[in-house]
């Protein structure tokens, strides 16, 4: 990050500085002894929630492993149908967005309101780019060729009878992941709104930025596993 200083606070309208939602004015919930405790609790809650997300995806990875052992041919064929370059492009997009998400947290800690917003916007833009690549160059093309899940499978040149199962797991795994990308982007959208409207996040109050970033890193991490399993391993 540049060392550029943030907008001079005197330029900020009084309505924002006086708002109870401005980070300097936020107080802890009535059942907490201090804002620090509340922050720690929110972070612990987020980590527990991420654990449940890992276990949710574990079901899909487990199904992948079981059917890979049962039908290795279909699984090898399956990954040949995918173009690794689109997967790699999306990996790069998500890695970049994880970096900007981490930067957003740092900017909130340093009260750099402008760069906080820039980093969030880049993160959301990366999410949109990821979904665009996924839909335009992968889902649409594959579905057009009849490479659809389950009984909708109509690709005429399949080599193995169990390829429809491979496509089922591909669409479920990447589909649920894509849903998480959308949810994460929406979460950053909320953060962006409060950051712009109230300057709600600063050195003593950045819980939501931190938790949104944690969630985003998990979304990234899941893709880091999906990418090699689906695109690279034959």
């Amino acid at each position: 990050m540049s060392t550029m200083t943030d907008t001079n606070p005197t330029d900020v309208p009084q309505s924002i500085l006086k708002s109870p939602k401005h980070w300097r004015n936020r107080i802890a919930g009535h059942h907490w002894r201090s804002g620090d405790e509340e922050f720690d609790a929110a972070k612990l809650g987020m980590w527990l929630f991420l654990t449940t997300e890992v276990l949710l995806f574990a079901g899909i990875f487990c199904g992948y492993a079981v059917f890979r052992m049962m039908y290795p041919e279909a699984w090898a064929n399956g990954s040949h149908y995918l173009d690794w370059r689109f997967g790699a492009a999306n990996t790069a997009v998500l890695l970049l967005s994880s970096w900007t998400a981490a930067n957003a947290v740092r900017c909130a800690q340093l009260d750099k309101q402008f760069w906080l917003r820039v980093n969030i916007i880049v993160t959301i833009a990366c999410a949109a780019l990821f979904i665009f690549i996924k839909l335009k160059f992968e889902y649409m093309v594959k579905l057009g060729q009849g490479k659809a899940p389950g009984t909708f499978f109509s690709y005429p040149h399949a080599h193995d009878a169990h390829e429809p199962l491979w496509w089922s797991l591909y669409y479920i795994g990447t589909g649920i992941h894509a849903l998480h990308v959308v949810i994460g982007a929406a979460l950053f959208g909320v953060v962006l709104y409060y950051a712009k409207r109230y300057q709600a996040y600063g050195p003593t109050q950045y819980t939501l930025v931190e938790n949104a970033a944690l969630y985003w890193h998990l979304v990234d991490l899941v893709w880091i596993f999906l990418f090699p399993l689906l695109y690279l391993i034959h």
Partner: protein
């Protein structure tokens, strides 16, 4: 960082039950509340309503089984001298009942029976017993017993409640549309092929999926609350054992429920889009569904029983006025059960796996008996030389020791591979399961409701009335389910409306027992309603408890405590501590109480 003045008193606050004037204002206040006590009370009434729905379905199942359902073929000679065969169906009790009401449609007797037992199982598991103790008594008492003003995330708590209502609405919609006949486990291919042109199965599975989120969020909230909101002076080993049990429960809820989430999601996709993962015709594997399902649903039976064990630890210690025996052993055995619970799912599908895997799962299953037995021995040692008061909570505690021990010990033959071959899928399993779930969880829940009733509503209940209800429940429960051990060992399979004549006497006894059981719960209902309308005002500490909820008023004020409590004695130090709000005319305390230095 801004710091709240935590020592500011809350002296002018009224009870949490007092609200604004006007019925609409009150409803709005309850519907939007983030107070854990109000949310706990709403959960309590909701789960008791679900218990009523599921219990009614159970009575219907028993009513069908009072005589066997079968086709009788009669041969006769007509006027022309030809042999004529006429087929009549007998014993279709539910079909006759529902035809009389005009709602049977063209369903056969067995279809109605299948729907009745699925309704019973699905409602009781997903809508009653999983949320029962944690979401109602846990929500109300976990923060209070920790000395906190609320759970860690109050708004998330309200969200859990609405997710529970939303999920239950899906389940009820499915029932109103006619119900499902898959069994509560939704095994494929039952769940993918029955009712192919209807949405009922999808709705019921969606209900279970949504209810899972409620369960996860409640568990997550409780884990963080226990970590972050203990009162000053309360270390981990100063927590009441009820908290330890809820903590272990919450960990299982957080770790196991996502797996059923993805499983049910795959099932919904399978059903709507034929993705084929569980469909053998496309190379899918129905046994994979069973593995996924039980990876959640076995740990979740400990979600059902662990909070009950927590309640029993409180009931026995307080109503025997005795320090709990083996505090740490009980606390760690809760965590031990939670840990082992994730390693034993395979014992539900012994016949669907290899010999080595079956032997391993059998061995791991036996491990569950160790922490469980540790608890039972510690409870009995707690009672030894205690000043036992035979009131309703204590009687339910003693009943738990009796029925739960039967339930636990009859599980061992099911974990043993050789005997399980004979017993599996028989009424023996049904009896074992009900001795643990009903003889364990429901009995402890009843004891807990009576124990904390004065604190929750500020009213005493009618003790003789409650004892009569307790007696009827004890007799009815054992008559209903003990007979089923005999039925199972003699070969009666579960989930059949038909059976050979030899089983009829035992089935009839079981059905009569279910009526006594139902009567017992109706007596309890009457006692509760009477207490709410005309109950005596409860003192702040009617039993002489030392945990923090007895320092509150009955019912507690909005923020629970007038001042943040500071913990100076252990939760079970009856020998050395004078209980808060003690009035000598209420009950005697230990002669040495208050003499020893802290």
């Amino acid at each position: 960082m801004s710091t709240l003045d935590t020592h500011a008193g809350h002296h002018d606050e009224g009870s949490y039950l007092s609200g604004p004037p006007g019925i609409m204002a009150k409803i709005w206040q309850w519907a939007t509340t983030v107070d854990h006590k109000k949310i706990g009370v709403m959960y309590l009434f909701a789960v008791l309503f679900m218990f009523f729905v599921g219990g009614t379905a159970a009575l219907l199942v028993r009513y069908e089984l009072i005589d066997p359902m079968r086709d009788v073929i009669t041969q006769s000679v007509n006027a022309d001298g030809d042999l004529v065969e006429t087929t009549t169906s007998t014993g279709e009790n539910l079909r006759d009942l529902f035809s009389g009401l005009g709602v049977a449609g063209d369903l056969t007797g067995t279809q109605i029976y299948n729907r009745a037992f699925t309704l019973h199982g699905a409602v009781m598991v997903f809508m009653f017993i999983v949320p029962s103790i944690p979401a109602s008594l846990g929500n109300f008492f976990l923060p209070v017993m920790l000395g906190a003003k609320d759970v860690a995330f109050p708004r998330l708590n309200l969200l859990s409640w609405y997710i529970y209502l939303f999920g239950s609405a899906f389940g009820i919609l499915s029932i109103l549309m006619g119900g499902v006949e898959t069994g509560w486990t939704f095994y494929t291919p039952y769940s993918t092929t029955t009712d192919a042109d209807h949405w009922r199965v999808v709705l019921m599975v969606t209900a279970a999926f949504i209810l899972g989120f409620s369960s996860i969020l409640t568990g997550l909230n409780f884990v963080v609350t226990v970590h972050k909101l203990r009162a000053p002076g309360m270390g981990w080993f100063d927590m009441p054992l009820f908290i330890w049990a809820i903590y272990a429960t919450s960990i299982i809820q957080v770790l196991a429920t996502p797996v059923i989430g993805i499983t049910l999601l795959l099932l919904i996709f399978e059903r709507i889009m034929n993705i084929g993962i569980f469909d053998p015709a496309m190379g899918g594997d129905p046994v994979l569904y069973q593995h996924f399902f039980w990876f959640y649903s076995h740990p979740v039976v400990y979600v059902m029983i662990l909070p009950a064990m927590g309640i029993i630890s409180e009931l026995l210690a307080i109503h025997a006025r005795k320090h709990i025996f083996g505090y740490r052993a009980i606390a760690f055995s809760s965590l031990g059960i939670a840990g082992v619970s994730f390693l034993v799912w395979g014992h539900h599908i012994f016949t669907a796996m290899g010999e080595l895997a079956a032997i391993l799962f059998s061995g791991l299953t036996f491990l569950v008996a160790i922490p469980t037995a540790i608890k039972v021995f510690n409870w009995i040692a707690t009672l030894y030389k205690g000043s036992i008061v035979l009131n309703t909570p204590m009687c339910y505690g003693l009943m738990f020791l009796f029925t739960f021990s039967i339930g636990g010990l009859t599980g061992l033959p099911l974990a043993t591979l050789a005997t399980d071959l004979h017993l599996h899928d028989s009424y023996y399993v049904v009896a074992h399961f009900h001795y643990v779930m009903m003889g364990g969880t429901v009995i402890a829940f009843m004891g807990g409701i009576h124990h904390w009733w004065p604190k929750m509503f500020g009213k005493m209940y009618n003790e003789p009335g409650a004892l009569i209800g307790m007696g009827l429940v004890f007799i009815g429960f054992n008559v209903t389910f003990f007979t089923q051990f005999f039925l199972g060992t003699q070969g009666m399979p579960r989930r059949y409306a038909n059976y050979v004549d030899e089983f009829q006497t035992l089935h009839q006894i079981s059905t009569y027992g279910s009526w006594i059981l139902g009567l017992g719960f109706l007596v309890h209902l009457a006692v509760f309603v009477h207490s709410l309308i005309a109950g005596e005002k409860a003192p702040a500490n009617p039993w002489g408890g030392l945990t923090l909820e007895w320092e509150c008023e009955s019912p507690p004020i909005e923020h629970n405590f007038h001042h943040e409590p500071i913990v100076k004695h252990g939760p079970y130090d009856f020998e050395t501590t004078v209980p808060p709000h003690w009035d000598p005319k209420d009950y005697p305390i230990h002669p040495d109480a208050g003499k020893a230095a802290h």
